[in-house]
C-alpha cells in the first residue's frame, strides 16, 4: 500500500476548466516533460498516468535503454529510459524524475523515465496541425512537430513506435 500511496496520478481533467475559459476553438492537450533541458510533449490521450516514485527492478541482460520493470498495481510494466531512447547521456535519477506510463502501438503499457514532468498544456488544434511535419529522417520519426510557446520550443513526440525502436 505504501508504494501506491506515493504514486501520484495527474489527470487532465484538473486542467479542463482553465482552458475551457480561453475559447480558442477545439484544443488539443499535451503533457510536457523535460529530458536534458529540452521540453517535449506527449498527447494526454497517450499518457495514462505519471508516477512520482517507482521501484525499478533491473532485468539482467536487457538492452541499455530498458531500465527494468515496475509493479504497477499488480501489473508488471517495462520501464524505458527516455535519455537513452533519445540518444542522450545517462543520468542518475533524482527527486524530479518521473515515470510516464504510456500505451504504445502494440497495446503494451510502458513506463518512460523522464527528468521531470512539467504540466498539461493546451494548444488550439490549428497550431498543432501547422506544426505537424513529415520527417524522413529515421532518427526523428517519433517527432511530430515543434510548437513555440513562451519563447521556448516544445517538441511534440509520438511514443507509439517505442516498441520497434528499442527492440532493434
Amino acid at each position: 500500500m505504501t508504494e501506491q500511496a506515493m504514486q501520484q496520478r495527474q489527470t487532465p481533467e484538473e486542467y479542463d476548466e482553465e482552458f475551457e475559459a480561453q475559447d480558442k476553438g477545439p484544443l488539443s492537450r499535451w503533457v510536457s516533460f523535460t529530458v536534458d533541458e529540452e521540453i517535449y510533449a506527449l498527447n494526454v490521450l497517450d499518457v495514462q498516468e505519471v508516477l512520482r516514485d517507482a521501484e525499478i527492478t533491473p532485468i539482467p541482460g536487457a538492452p541499455d535503454s530498458i531500465l527494468g520493470i515496475i509493479n504497477l498495481r499488480g501489473n508488471v510494466v517495462t520501464v524505458v529510459d527516455a535519455r537513452i531512447f533519445f540518444g542522450l547521456e545517462e543520468k542518475k535519477h533524482d527527486e524530479n524524475s518521473r515515470v510516464m506510463v504510456i500505451e504504445v502501438a502494440s497495446g503494451e503499457i510502458v513506463g518512460l523515465v523522464v527528468d521531470s514532468v512539467a504540466e498539461v498544456i493546451a494548444f488550439p488544434e490549428s497550431v498543432v496541425d501547422q506544426a505537424m511535419m513529415s520527417v524522413n529522417d529515421d532518427r526523428a520519426r517519433h517527432i511530430l512537430g515543434i510548437v513555440p510557446q513562451d519563447e521556448k520550443l516544445i517538441i511534440l513526440v509520438d511514443m507509439k513506435s517505442l516498441s520497434d525502436i528499442t527492440a532493434t
Binding site: I59, G61, P63, I69, I70, N71, T78, E108, V110, T166
Partner: protein, 701 residues
C-alpha cells in the same frame, strides 16, 4: 421479423457446431467397429443435420451442401437401406476434413469455399444405389424455394421468413391451414416435411403461443417427443425464443427443432396419408404416449438450467484477479507477525482459508476432461495405421481426468505426435508381429491419471521397443555424447537421447524403430508446461512414454533465492536439492567448475555470472553461499546463489513485448512483500550462456 446472422450468432454456431464436429470424428471411427449401432447412426445423422441447419441460418451454402449429402447417406444408413462400408467411411472422413477446413475459414472470418462438384457427387453417389425405391433423389435445399417444410432447415432468409410467416399463420388459424401445405412437400423431401410438421406440432403443443388449438393432449405429445429424443425443455424454449427473435443461440434452436423431428421421420414415413391434421403427430403420438406417461412428471416440470457458457477470457481474468488476491493474502501473512493483535491474526487466518478455497474453486472452473484431447486419437490412429498398412487398436484410459484448460490445449499437439509415432515406429507390420508371436493387431494404450498435484499421461505400445545400444551408437555418431560418456549412460538415458534436438534425422526411422521425428519438439512443449517426459522401453515388448504435467499453469510453486540482493524465483519442479556450498569439494575439470555431490561431479554455475552481474570469480566460496541443484533435461546443474529464502507460490506475469529479446526469464511475479521477483527460465538461461562454452552434453552422466 428479420433474421440477421450477426457475428455473435456465427460465434455461437462455430462453438456448438464445432463441438459436434469434433465428436463426429470419434463417432465415425466407432461406427467402423460397430456399423449397425443404431443410436450412433442416429446421432451422427443428427449432428450433420444440426450443422446443416445452423449453416443454413447463417447462409453458409458450402457447409449446407456438404452436410446435406452426408445427412442423406446417414439417413439411409440408419434406416438400414444401405450398409456402412469402408468406402462410405472414407468419404465421410473426408467430409469431416472439409468441414473442419470450412470451420477454420469461418473462424478466420472468411466465407468458406465450396468443395469440388466431383466430391459432392461422390457423396451423393453414396446415397444413390439402393436408395432408388423408397427415397427420391433430393433437391438441394437452397435451389428449391418451394415448400414451407424446407424452411425447417432454412437456408435462405426469405425461406426462413416464410416459415415464420407460416408459423404466425398457424398461430392464428391453427395447424390445419399449414399442415396441408407441409404435406404437399412430402413428395419433395421426405425428412424435412416431417420435420416441419413435427416442429409445428411442438410449437403448438407447447402452448407457448397461446394458440387455441394447443390442446393438453398435443402438449403431452410435444413434451413426450422432446423427452424421448433427449431434448430438454430449455432447449425447446430456446427454439421458441429464437423464432420470436429473442434468443441468441441459433444452434440450440436447430438442435432441438431438428433433432426430434428427424427422429420422428422414419416413424411417420410409412404412412403417406392425405393431408389431415398432421399425420406425423398422429404417428408419433401413438409411439410417444407410453413415454409420456412414464416421463410426464419431468416432462411437465422442466429441469432448471444448470450450465452457463463463459468466455475463456473472462475466466482468465477471474483467475488473474484470484492470483492478485493470493498475493495480497501472502502479503498479509507476512505482515501478520508485525501486528501483535489476536483479532487481526484470526481475521487474516480466515482470509487465508477463504482465499485458498476460492483459488481452488476458480481453478476447478477451468478444468476440462482430458477427453477433449483424447477424442481426436481414434482418428489419428486409424489414419496413420491405414496409411502404413498396420493393424492397431487404441485403448483409452482415464479420459475423465480433469486438467487446466490451457494445458488441455497445449498438450494436444505433443500427444498427437507421440501417438502417431507409436503407431508409425512402435507397432510392427502385422506379418512381423505374427512371426514374433504377437497378435496381428498392435495395441496403443493412452492413459491419464491424477497423481497429487500432477497429471500423468502415458502412451504405451506393444511394439518392438527400442534398442539402447543402437541409440547409444547413434548418439555418439551424431556427436551428441562423447564416446566415453555414452558408455556410462544407463538404458533409460539412452532412450532419452531421442529427445535431443540433434537426434532426429530421416535415417533413424528406417534403421531402428526409434522415434527420432521431432521428439525434441515434444520435449520442448512439455518443458514449457513445467512438465517432464520420460521413456521406458524393452526390446520386443514395447515402449512407454510418460509425461507428467502440473494440474494448472496459473500458479507456479517456486523456490525463492537471493542473488546480489535481489529475489529470483526458480520453478520448484526443476529443483532437486539444496545444500551449503562450504562443505563440498570443488574442482575445475576441462575449464568447467564442478562440484562433487555424493561422488558425482556436477557442473557448477554462479548465478551472478549467469545473470551478468558482477560477482566473485568462479570457484571462490563464501561461507554463506548455497547451492541449488536443478535438473535441466537429463542433466544436473548446480547453481550458486547468495541465499535461499524458501518456497512460495507465485502467479506468473509475462514480461512485456519490449523484453521478448531477453532470454532466461519466464516472467516476473510480485512477491509477498510487494516487490518484483524475476522467474528464471532454466532452458533460456542455459541458451543465453551457451556461448561461454559452459554447456556441453558431456556431463550427462
Amino acid at each position: 421479423m428479420a433474421f440477421e446472422p450477426d457475428n455473435e450468432l456465427l460465434q455461437d454456431f462455430l462453438i456448438e457446431a464445432g463441438e459436434l464436429l469434433n465428436g463426429l470424428d470419434e463417432q465415425l471411427i466407432e461406427l467402423e467397429q460397430s456399423p449397425d449401432d443404431a443410436d450412433r447412426l442416429n446421432s451422427v445423422f443428427r449432428a450433420f443435420h444440426t450443422i446443416k441447419g445452423g449453416a443454413g441460418f447463417l447462409e453458409v451454402h458450402p457447409l449446407v451442401e456438404i452436410c446435406h449429402g452426408a445427412e442423406d447417406t446417414f439417413n439411409l444408413l440408419r434406416n438400414h437401406e444401405i450398409r456402412m462400408n469402408s468406402r462410405i467411411m472414407d468419404v465421410m472422413l473426408q467430409v469431416i476434413d472439409s468441414l473442419n477446413g470450412m470451420f477454420d475459414r469461418l473462424r478466420a472470418g472468411q466465407y468458406p469455399e465450396s468443395v469440388s462438384p466431383e466430391f459432392l457427387k461422390e457423396i451423393e453417389a453414396l446415397a444413390r444405389p439402393e436408395a432408388a425405391a423408397p427415397v427420391k433423389p433430393k433437391a438441394e435445399p437452397e435451389s428449391n424455394p418451394v415448400p414451407a417444410a424446407e424452411a425447417a432447415v432454412a437456408t435462405e432468409d426469405d425461406a426462413f421468413d416464410r416459415m415464420l410467416a407460416d408459423l404466425d399463420a398457424a398461430e392464428s388459424s391453427g395447424a390445419d391451414s399449414v399442415a396441408p401445405e407441409a404435406s404437399n412437400a412430402a413428395d419433395d423431401d421426405l425428412i424435412t416435411d416431417d420435420e416441419f410438421e413435427n416442429l409445428l406440432d411442438e410449437l403448438h403443443g407447447k402452448g407457448q403461443f397461446q394458440a387455441p388449438q394447443a390442446s393438453p393432449e398435443a402438449e403431452k405429445v410435444a413434451s413426450a417427443t422432446a423427452e424421448s429424443d433427449e431434448i430438454t425443455d430449455e432447449e425447446f424454449e430456446a427454439v421458441l425464443d429464437e423464432l420470436y427473435g429473442k434468443g441468441k443461440s441459433p444452434t440450440a434452436d436447430d438442435e432441438s427443432a431438428v433433432a426430434p423431428a428427424s427422429d420422428a421421420a422414419p416413424k411417420a414415413a410409412p404412412q403417406p396419408k392425405p393431408p389431415s391434421k398432421s399425420s406425423a403427430s398422429a404417428g408419433s403420438e401413438k409411439k410417444a404416449e407410453p413415454a409420456a406417461k412414464a416421463k410426464s412428471p419431468e416432462a411437465h416440470k422442466p429441469p432448471v438450467e444448470t450450465t452457463v457458457r463463459v468466455d475463456t477470457e473472462r475466466l482468465d481474468s477471474i483467475m488473474n484477479l484470484v492470483g492478485e488476491l493470493v498475493l495480497v493474502r501472502n502479503r498479509m501473512n507476512t505482515l501478520k507477525s508485525t501486528f501483535e493483535n489476536e483479532e487481526i491474526s484470526s481475521v487474516i487466518a480466515t482470509l487465508d482459508m477463504v482465499t485458498s478455497d476460492l483459488q481452488g474453486a476458480v481453478m476447478k472452473t477451468r478444468m476440462q476432461p482430458v477427453k477433449k484431447v483424447f477424442g481426436r486419437f481414434p482418428r489419428v490412429v486409424r489414419d496413420t495405421a491405414r496409411t502404413l498398412g498396420k493393424e492397431v487398436n487404441l485403448e483409452l484410459e482415464g479420459e475423465d481426468t480433469d486438467l487446466d484448460k490451457n494445458l488441455v490445449e497445449a498438450l494436444a499437439d505433443p500427444l498427437i505426435h507421440l501417438v502417431r509415432n507409436a503407431v508409425d515406429h512402435g507397432i510392427e507390420m502385422p506379418d512381423q508381429r505374427e512371426q514374433a508371436g504377437k497378435p496381428r493387431a498392435g495395441t496403443v494404450l493412452l492413459s491419464a491419471a491424477q497423481e497429487g498435484d500432477h497429471i500423468r499421461l502415458s502412451i504405451r505400445d506393444d511394439g518392438s521397443g527400442m534398442d539402447a545400444e543402437v541409440l547409444r551408437r547413434k548418439g555418439v555418431d551424431k556427436g551428441i555424447v562423447d564416446p566415453d560418456a555414452a558408455e556410462r549412460l544407463t538404458d533409460q538415458e539412452c532412450f532419452e537421447l531421442i529427445l535431443h534436438p540433434g537426434f532426429s534425422t530421416k535415417d533413424q526411422i528406417s534403421d531402428i524403430s526409434g522415434r527420432g521425428v521431432g521428439m525434441d519438439v515434444v520435449k520442448t512443449a512439455i518443458t514449457k508446461l513445467s512438465g517432464t517426459i520420460s521413456i521406458d522401453s524393452s526390446m520386443g515388448e514395447g515402449t512407454q512414454i510418460n509425461i507428467k504435467v502440473p494440474l494448472t499453469l496459473a500458479i507456479l510453486p517456486t523456490l525463492m533465492v537471493i542473488v546480489s540482493g535481489r529475489k529470483y524465483a526458480v520453478a520448484l519442479s526443476v529443483v532437486n536439492e539444496i545444500f551449503e556450498m562450504a562443505d563440498k569439494e570443488i574442482n575445475v575439470v576441462d575449464g568447467q567448475t564442478t562440484i562433487t555431490v555424493r561422488d558425482r561431479a556436477v557442473p557448477l554455475f554462479r548465478m551472478t555470472d549467469w545473470l551478468g552481474l558482477r560477482g566473485e570469480p568462479p570457484g571462490q566460496r563464501s561461507e554463506t553461499d548455497q547451492v541449488v541443484m536443478v535438473q535441466h533435461g537429463a542433466q544436473l546443474m548446480a547453481l550458486v546463489v547468495d541465499s535461499v529464502i524458501g518456497q512460495e507460490e507465485v502467479v506468473i506475469k509475462p514480461l512485456g513485448e519490449l523484453l521478448r529479446i531477453v532470454e532466461g526469464f519466464a516472467g516476473a511475479t510480485i512477491t509477498g512483500d510487494g516487490h518484483i521477483a524475476l522467474i528464471l527460465d532454466l532452458p533460456g538461461m542455459v541458451r543465453r550462456n551457451a556461448g561461454r562454452g559452459h554447456q556441453r552434453m558431456r556431463s550427462v552422466a
